[in-house]
């Protein structure tokens, strides 16, 4: 028995009991009995209550103490099974079974404990993915409704948020899945997200809601494409997962370039806007460089030559002591100067996005970064050009992709050239870091004068054997 844990609960009940009415007191008394009966000893997890960073163990214990979740024993049994994993140094969860809500093939991940007798509260412990609103702003009344729903039908445990971006309801039983889904859709006007070989829940950066760098409306793009492709999100028809992510600028706060099959990254084609007076204010030390991001250490006086001009990767900037000049034609929009002097420099006004394809984590052929495919596309609602592009890509991948082959792997297997044909784009040096170094060009017959049919007899008339 975890001593710290039981003492903590006793103290808690002790202090509440003094100030509550007799009915509650009765309830508390019963709860204490139950808590003591069902409790697992968690000496190792108790070690994770120490230290300054928020302790998920303490949080789960407060849910055990105060929570009225439907799966009453789930938080305690979750700590119990986790403690067992801490002893055994291996997981105690089984492969998920096929569970879900009727008509959907995604949004629910089946999960079963491999020690159900010891931990009945988490024997069936399925996850539900709830599609987050673009860039995760919330009103508290909505969050409280979500909490009430998850209290009524689930474990009271969540992830805010999952890696893909969804609100994760962590742990409920099979019969409760439909209950959650019904109330989610009927009362909260809110749908589930994606899982499995589906379109996964799209996500975006904070965009124009609170950032000056966003070169298109990432939130609107994310929302409109999510709505357009609800069928693909909920019903698996793909070879494997497919992710879109929307970054507003090349800083890439939502990491689309590393982890989305289609990465949409805001950019601009014209000139960086310069406020020369503000540049002087940075040089004069009136404004903290990099928005104050380096304030915790004395890096010396701001030196525009050293920190901006000489760090520009293309060397396209100059400073003569009173005026900053940028040769915008040579700029690759890396964002460094804009990040260092946000009050002096602003992104250009001819804004849109670069579209990159094929990023993925290592499983299976190794990690891939997304490849620049469409250098520039205007990005205005309703984003028709982007949708046309996506649908061409999907048609090809659904036709040619092998089971569990990500788009990036298919592009490697069938070549970038083939991919460009599919999406009807002309090759462009912007699509490569450098041209190929091997000369093994797969010439096509129609590219070679006279084709490939030749006469060996005519050859032999001129060349003896």
């Amino acid at each position: 028995m975890g001593r710290g844990f039981s003492v903590g609960i006793s103290i808690f009940l002790e202090t509440t009991r003094k100030s509550v009415d007799p009915v509650l007191e009765q309830e508390n008394y019963c709860r204490e009995e139950e808590v003591l009966m069902a409790k697992h000893s968690t000496p190792m997890l108790d070690e994770l209550e120490k230290g300054p960073w928020p302790s998920f163990v303490s949080d789960i214990k407060q849910q055990i103490e105060k929570g009225k979740q439907a799966l009453k024993d789930a938080p305690e049994d979750l700590l119990g099974v986790l403690e067992l994993s801490y002893e055994d140094k291996v997981t105690h969860w089984k492969h998920g079974g096929i569970v879900g809500v009727f008509g959907y093939g995604g949004g629910v991940i089946g999960r079963y404990c491999d020690q159900p007798q010891k931990f009945p509260g988490v024997a069936h412990f399925h996850t539900m993915r709830v599609n987050q609103p673009s860039s995760k702003f919330y009103k508290t009344d909505f969050l409280r409704q979500l909490c009430a729903l998850w209290e009524k039908w689930g474990s009271g445990l969540t992830n805010m948020h999952g890696s893909t971006g969804d609100i994760i309801f962590l742990g409920t039983t099979t019969p409760n899945l439909e209950q959650v889904f019904y109330e989610l859709t009927h009362e909260l006007n809110q749908d589930l997200g994606g899982s499995g070989s589906n379109l996964r829940t799209p996500s975006c950066c904070i965009g124009r809601a609170r950032c000056q760098f966003a070169c298109y409306d990432t939130q609107e793009a994310c929302h409109q494409l999510t709505m357009e492709y609800q069928d693909e999100l909920h019903r698996p028809a793909f070879p494997y997962k497919f992710k879109f992510k929307f970054d507003g600028c090349p800083n890439g706060c939502v990491a689309s370039i590393a982890r989305s099959d289609m990465s949409v990254i805001g950019t601009w084609r014209d000139n960086i806007r310069i406020d020369q007076n503000a540049v002087k204010a940075y040089v004069g030390g009136e404004i903290a460089p990099n928005a104050g991001a380096h304030a915790g250490r004395d890096w010396g006086k701001f030196d525009i030559e050293k920190e901006v001009i000489n760090l520009c990767p293309t060397g396209c900037m100059s400073w003569d002591g009173s005026k900053l000049e940028i040769n915008n034609k040579e700029c690759t929009r890396c964002m460094h100067c804009l990040n260092v002097m946000p009050q002096a420099l602003r992104v250009g006004l001819d804004q849109g996005a670069s579209i990159l394809f094929g990023a993925k984590a290592p499983i299976l052929e190794g990690a891939q970064m997304a490849t620049l495919t469409v250098p520039f596309m205007k990005m205005e609602p309703p984003f028709e050009e982007l949708k046309e592009l996506i649908e061409k890509v999907w048609d090809w991948w659904m036709e040619e992709g092998k089971n569990r082959e990500r788009l990036g792997e298919l592009i490697q297997r069938q070549t970038m050239q083939k991919f460009l044909q599919v999406i009807e784009r002309e090759p462009d040096p912007r699509m490569v870091k450098e041209p190929r170094s091997n000369p093994y060009i797969f010439w096509k017959e129609e590219e070679v004068e006279g084709g490939w049919t030749r006469d060996i007899k005519a050859f032999r008339e001129k060349h003896q054997r």
């Binding site: 009727f102 412990f125 996850t127 702003f137 971006g165 439909e178 909920h234 800083n251 370039i257």
Partner: protein, 372 residues
Amino acid sequence: MPYDPKDPLKDRITDIGPRYYKEFFPPVIEKNYGKWMYHEILEPGVLAHTSETGDKVYTVRVGAARLITIEHIREICDVADKHCGGYLRFTTRNNVEFMVDSKDKVKPLMDDLKSRKFSAGSNKFPIGGTGAGVTNIVHTQGWVHCHTPAIDASGVVKAVMDGLFDEFGSMRLPAPVRVSLACCLNMCGAVHCSDIAILGIHRKPPMVDNEWIDKLCELPLAIAACPTAAIKPAKTESGLKTLDVNHERCMFCGNCFTMCAAMPLADDVGSGVAILVGGKISNRRSMPKFSKVVIPFIPNEPPRWPQTVKAVKNIVDVYSKDAKKYERVGEWAERIGWERFFEKTEIPFSHHLIDDYRFAYTTWRTSTQFKF
């Protein structure tokens, strides 16, 4: 009408998508949408954004465990109701942001956040995660909720963030340091482009549950799942169909286990932590980079993973002392050379760190330029 289990399709609503994000905008965000001019970091964890209209929004960013309860979410709501008109947001890296529309509201909000602790003493709302510091670790499920992990996630993150806590609440590093954790190679956390990645790996080939495998799995799928063709059909002595794994060829990716539950890999001593460094996703100055494996294995050490914490802290400390302003971990390592990286961090270099998978050659040094 409530849900009727006897008639599940009655009044069914599907494919309505998420709620429209603009429903959840605080008034100052709604009014200044697309009009923001610049931002300032007033102190660690506190941002001020200025609009063309002259409006300002002040944001206080706090860390959170990704695994949180509805009791905690309700407390987050209490704070937002009290100080922020009932609005808040979460970031991509599991932080919570509380926004107010005037500067005089910042201090009461911060004081309130600082005062709230869990019963055992940890902070409920540590303020920080901005600028040239360490922000929250994005991570996966681990032993809390997944069948394939090699390590826990939430516990390792708690221990590492306790170790890096001072860097979360300050901005004294040369550049932002993004730490991420994925508890197996599937990397649902996509840690392969992080300044420092903590990755769960297996080191023992799968066991084959001979008596059950043909009942539980589609054998051809498990065979096809293997990237090194190490799995082939076999028969048990009693004549049951099973699979045979060529252990020499196994690279411990776990893809077969993903396809077939009768081939478990996880092991108390076989599974553990690998550390990767030097990745980034930003296009700032240099192009995005993958993280590179610098420590091939650290054993699982629940509950506080001391060697993992020490390894991460060491890399951050050496980087902090040696890198130039604006240099990310990967840019620093490339400038000084990887031979210097191993020398300065005192991390031993072993054969495990030389690539021998696809495109391995692209990472070998084909030059006489090196440092003694």
